[in-house]
Symmetry: C2
Subunit: 472 residues, 2 copies
Amino acid sequence: MTMASPTVSLPHQVEVVNVGLPLFADSVRDQDRPVQHVDWRIPAGGNLDAVKALQSLYGDRAAAIDEANAEVVRRLDQGVPFLVEVARASDVVPGLDGRTIVHCGPPIDWTDVCDPLRRSIRAAVVAEGWADDVEQAHRLIERGEVRLEPANHHAMVVPMATAIGPSAPVFVVENEQGGTRAFSPINQGPGEVAWFGRETDAAIERLRFLRDVAGPLLSWTVRRTGPIDLLALAGQGIQMGDDLHMRTQATTNLLTRNLLPYIAEYEGPGRVEFARYLSGNHLFFLNLAMASAKSLTLWAQQVQGSSIVTSMARNGTTFGIRVAGSDHWYITEAPAVEDALYYSGYGPESSARDIGDSAVLELMGLGGPAAAGSPAVAAFLGGTMADALKATEAMAEICAGASSRFKLPTLDFRGTPVGVDLRRVVELGITPKVNTGVLHVSSGIGQVGAGVATAPVACFVEALLDLAARTS
Amino acid sequence: MTMASPTVSLPHQVEVVNVGLPLFADSVRDQDRPVQHVDWRIPAGGNLDAVKALQSLYGDRAAAIDEANAEVVRRLDQGVPFLVEVARASDVVPGLDGRTIVHCGPPIDWTDVCDPLRRSIRAAVVAEGWADDVEQAHRLIERGEVRLEPANHHAMVVPMATAIGPSAPVFVVENEQGGTRAFSPINQGPGEVAWFGRETDAAIERLRFLRDVAGPLLSWTVRRTGPIDLLALAGQGIQMGDDLHMRTQATTNLLTRNLLPYIAEYEGPGRVEFARYLSGNHLFFLNLAMASAKSLTLWAQQVQGSSIVTSMARNGTTFGIRVAGSDHWYITEAPAVEDALYYSGYGPESSARDIGDSAVLELMGLGGPAAAGSPAVAAFLGGTMADALKATEAMAEICAGASSRFKLPTLDFRGTPVGVDLRRVVELGITPKVNTGVLHVSSGIGQVGAGVATAPVACFVEALLDLAARTS
């Protein structure tokens, strides 16, 4: 059985090699003696079923899985998603009709929905015109008159606590080579907004603004620009300190400068309002990055017999993953967001659990994998670039490939890690870390900080056992 | 006599220390023996007058000079330049009236002006309406009916082969604390433009566009925005891979997003034209960075008894510097641009000499000093980030301080070097390297590449000797 291990470069002269607990290495080092520490851990935390599954998946079946994985990585790395259209969701998204609201994360019953997502869903119901206010919206939902579905089941991904209905405008992102299309709504921006779990009049008004002003303007603009190569912009943004998850400032600005002539030319209503909104929204590109990622994971998902993760999403209550070749969700409790920086007066006790579909980015080289190049992300990981580097290195340990388009200047243009391999995750006990925002758990006040969530290992173990069973 | 030397960290165990020629160190290393090489060179290249001047300036007078230098560095590092106005040059620039054209670099006679700058001056004369075409402009200048003056003599700095007349709009940049104001014209953008040494109808039309459309729009906008803290934007741009000289993309984009709502709102003529121009001009911020630098060097220049350089400018024929406390230009022949990447079909033989006032940026922590953080600049210095790091390290060897606002993520937020000290330059024989464009030497075709120019040491030696004489 050959297992992936952390790369070890042996020095020319070694006096002590320490395997396992770093404590011993530290103690030898304290005595000024050279020591080489090998970070070996008990595989799969000693879970015997998992060890058995790993033996099989790294054993006889390793070659077939590696081959499938290489194809998954190729699709995640080389597909070229274009923004081709901005349209009303019900006109373009399969199955998004009637009184349907799509939301972040795995499937969930209304009774289990967390507070910020409840508020966002109610805001969407009001914006759709199905209710006059959020109280009425609540009763409508309680009576089962609104269908709740994961955006992921409609080829869509939505960040944080986003929930949208059929009238919302969406970006249509096409991966022509793979024949896949994915969707995301227009980012709602900062402040008093539903995707942060707010349901105030202003938050509902923002949804209407996106539908009535931003959607038509962007739709007109994209017809003028023609298809926009989104990841070409993202590749530049990576070189400018974006991780494209927590920070999308550089890429948003690149796109903004490209759109500027069309905005200036637009004679429809709301040109100035839209310009103010875009000027104030450095996360505008987030949703475009996510739809790009989704168009690639949809393509990757078609590959059979691979151990690469192709969905990773949270609804604030549960955390779920899916694996290439299967539609099955492996679900566990959503984690808390750790390593967070909080707005003044807030802390872990007032924080909702990890939420949103944006973790799809971490599957194809953005977000955590790109941390090493992002000074802004480093601030959340300890403050130094060395801290950020550790996040990228951890992802490299559990990924099957490296990006050929997202290159980190700080690592002399090494590609970011791509393709989270279940086997490595379970063997090493290292799960993806996801750069994300933090919402208030119950007050409806919205965002209270930002930090890093660690994906829970349980669903990866379950998926691994299932893969071993499925492919045996 | 204590001289500044490259920092040397001695290892714990040393068997050979090599001082001077690296050849010996290499040979010891080839035999697998440890060796510590100390990069010691004969000071001032063995120029005895310079050595004597250095002995004096590093000796008895070192304390006074160090104190003056600290004040110069403080001014360069801590002044806060704001863009306060965009106005017609003749309305705000002292002494820019009548038939005056200001140009880059030290003072120069028309007969000595290089080809690209001649073309740019003729284009400006036509744009001013003093001649119907460039032939008529040429005759007017030959007859001595146009006064040529360095922009630097009017508190202005202009990039590459820029030449402008009294009707051109200028940015007014104020350093309130220092009581200084500096000016720069609006950047002409890429392509068929006079600042690249073109004098075609399109190049002249661009000058008219800046005067008739961009100037009024920007003037209106800045009245609406209020003063803009330019180096706060530049500080963010540095974190996003700009050196703010060869690359100003990130900072231009940050400013563009800030200006977007005002552009969208503008109802004067040419909104769409301006938006297209700004969308296509990633060097828009260059001139703002330069005016900011100039407002600080003007303040620094008032300090007496310092050995810090406060002007560095080239007109394509001569290269000149000025030192704090004096208005005197120390002038030598302009160097060629080395390490250049050329457009297809061009090379050193078709290249004009180093040109433009933009080297003022290298005096206050931007351009070469910021290379280590800029993947785009690295491409011109060998391609790896390690090559770019060398450029920053070389500047650190000859600079008296470090920036508290331009921090390089790649060096864990170390400040860029600020304040070029004549003494170190002459002692070490290291002069500033300037990131710059390359223009065609004679054809009027404009830009043919970009690269790095090395400031010639002769004018630094002359300035040093003069400083020793002045302060003795």
